[in-house]
């Protein structure tokens, strides 16, 4: 823990100082940090191969490794089935207990949140770029590649360049039909896809503090799309009460994981949610930073609408879709795919009747997982098709043909557009 006479630090600096055993660290310094949690999904097989090449027999700490199958579940090909099998064998051999197989988990980031694996102050790495999601739990959480993870499995530590911190304060309240997704798309549109490159982001302000943990996860998740290394939302009472429901551990030590007053920021940005966000935002093909207010793109016909992913497949997202679709039907020219982010979200949405509403409206429910977001199965787009999606990337060919188009938007906009058959402001559907 940083000593009392250490200079004021941002949250990223405080956590890295703790993890490398120094009183303080500052931006651009190279440090070697001990890793508290190491996450992988199907690419655990790639990690395993690199780990074997390094030549050690046992992972450094099986309790700190979590593996969740989510990208191709259930296996869509023999090749994937072989990958899954190899991972199961490796997990058994190494005594890795925190393994979430098909039907036991869902999307890795949601599963970790539900099972309370991530706590404030942790250094966490994942072989998935959206590992930044866990900044919503006050963790220094970032994506790495498979071979780098093999190094973590070997030594339990990793080198980092201490990032400078960008602070984003959002005052005010989000207007009706405007969600965390719209806010972060707006910010990405302003800062562009490398606007936070190599930086830590700290979100704060009234608009953020009023958000649910699920919505804060959206901000941390999508910060990756402006290049952020890590992205934090506040460690406050709301988060601690969430953690109390999801973990058994002692949380009294976690309160202190807040930035110090007087910490140095590379940049501080202020937004007033009421002023800048008059309407929902849409990221247009083929870049996440190609963001426009919905009024500029409404009317674009959509063949497919997708509600799901580590960005927006949680209970509150399905609730919103069910609200919009109650008593309505998916447009005859449009397909609506619902992908609950986890088994738990699936069951809760069933109990609440959301899934019944959605299926009655003409939606199809995919098994919990990454599904169509990564373009490998369950909802591939043909050439010339257009998709409106609550997911996180709209790169060329992301969800299928290189000649298809993906627009990214909030769950409310996705559901409303599925009803209209074209991109539409939800207020025009829900009178």
């Amino acid at each position: 823990m940083p000593s009392a006479d250490a200079p004021p630090m941002t949250l990223a600096e405080k956590i890295l100082a703790r993890a490398c055993g120094r009183p303080s660290v500052s931006p651009d310094q190279i440090v070697v940090a001990s890793i508290d949690l190491a996450l992988s999904h199907e690419n655990a097989d790639l990690v395993r191969k690199s780990f074997r090449e390094i030549g050690v027999s046992r992972v450094w700490d099986p309790e700190r490794i979590v593996i969740v199958l989510d990208h191709r579940i259930p296996a869509e090909s023999e090749k994937t089935a072989t990958t899954h099998k190899a991972i199961r064998e490796f997990v058994a051999e190494q005594g890795i207990r925190h393994f979430y197989d098909v039907g036991r988990g869902g999307i890795c980031h949601q599963v970790l949140a539900e099972h309370g694996h991530v706590l404030p102050g942790m250094v966490m790495v994942g072989t998935d770029s959206h590992t930044t999601t866990h900044g919503a739990f006050g963790a220094f959480a970032t994506g790495i590649g498979a071979t780098e993870m093999a190094g973590v499995w070997t030594e339990g530590k990793l080198w980092f360049k201490v990032p400078a911190t960008l602070r984003i304060e959002v005052a005010g309240a989000l207007p009706p039909w405007v969600s965390a997704k719209d806010l972060i798309l707006y910010i990405i549109g302003q800062l562009r896809s490398d606007g936070a490159e190599y930086q830590a982001v700290e979100f704060d302000g009234a608009a953020i503090r009023h958000m649910t943990v699920a919505s804060r996860m959206v901000l941390a998740n999508l910060s990756m799309e402006m290049g952020a290394k890590v992205a934090f939302t506040p460690v406050d009472d709301l988060l601690l009460s969430y953690l109390r429901r999801h973990t058994h551990g002692d949380l009294s030590t976690y309160v202190r994981w807040r930035p110090d007053p007087g910490a140095h920021y590379a940049r501080v940005l202020h937004f007033d949610a009421n002023k800048v966000l008059q309407e929902p935002q849409v990221a247009c093909p083929h870049a996440v930073d190609n963001v426009k207010p919905i009024s500029e793109v409404s009317g674009v016909p959509v063949n497919q609408a997708v509600l799901g992913s580590c960005t927006n497949g949680r209970l509150e997202d399905l609730e919103m879709a069910a609200y919009v679709l109650t008593g309505r039907h998916v447009h005859p020219n449009t397909r609506l795919l619902i992908v609950p982010a986890s088994q738990q979200v699936y069951v809760e949405a069933l109990r609440m009747g959301y899934l019944e509403t959605l299926v009655d409206a003409g939606a199809i429910v995919n098994p919990p997982g990454c599904g169509p977001c990564v373009g490998v199965h369950q909802g591939i787009l043909a050439a010339g098709e257009v998709c409106i999606s609550s997911t996180n990337r709209n790169f060329i060919g992301r969800m299928g043909s290189k000649d298809s188009q993906v627009f990214l938007a909030s769950p409310a906009v996705v559901a409303a557009s599925a009803v209209a058959g074209h991109i539409v402001h939800p207020k025009e559907i829900v009178a």
Partner: protein
């Protein structure tokens, strides 16, 4: 020639924000043999690119090269297609680390070069010479960790040596 001095021909000059899905489509993520990843390099975006790269060639790009996914296959595909280095104005951080970990030099520099130009890069000194156009450019200094990794040929040989030394 040490691993920190490389010479090659520019195979392609690319724009800003070349994303990982362009470099290596998600549908091939279940390929785990690194050398096979090269078969799908730029498959959707620039299908002819793979055949244009000759061993040791360089890719030159703008800002934010490799943005998007953490997929290591993106860096592997570039390397196993034969590229000797990627020179970009800036890199997305995960791609940068993946490249260095696989022993593929990722060089941060703004260079003026055309397809077919011959370049010589001194990674340690941070100097790039365009031998065709007789011009010199400065590259950002490599982190000391990155130098060690590139000298070892990547993270796996680097850790292998350490494991052998520690005898575990």
């Amino acid at each position: 020639m040490t691993k920190l001095l490389v010479k090659g021909r520019v195979a392609a000059v690319l724009s800003d924000n070349i994303d990982t899905d362009m470099i290596y489509p998600g549908r091939y993520l279940n390929i785990t043999d690194r050398d096979k990843t090269a078969e799908h390099l730029f498959e959707l975006a620039y299908p002819e690119m793979r055949t244009r790269i000759r061993p040791g060639d360089f890719l030159v790009a703008g800002r934010n090269f490799g943005c998007g996914s953490s997929r290591e296959q993106a860096a592997a595909a570039v390397k196993y297609a034969g590229a000797g280095a990627v020179i970009a104005v800036s890199f997305a951080r995960i791609f940068y680390r993946n490249a260095i970990n696989l022993g593929l030099p990722a060089v941060v520099a703004q260079v003026e070069a055309a397809e077919g130009d011959e370049l010589a890069i001194d990674l340690e000194e941070g100097r790039i010479e365009n031998l065709t156009q007789h011009r010199e450019f400065t590259a950002a200094a490599l982190d000391p960790r990155a130098v060690e990794l590139l000298e070892a040929g990547g993270l796996i040989p680097y850790l292998k040596k350490r494991v052998l030394r520690s005898g575990c």
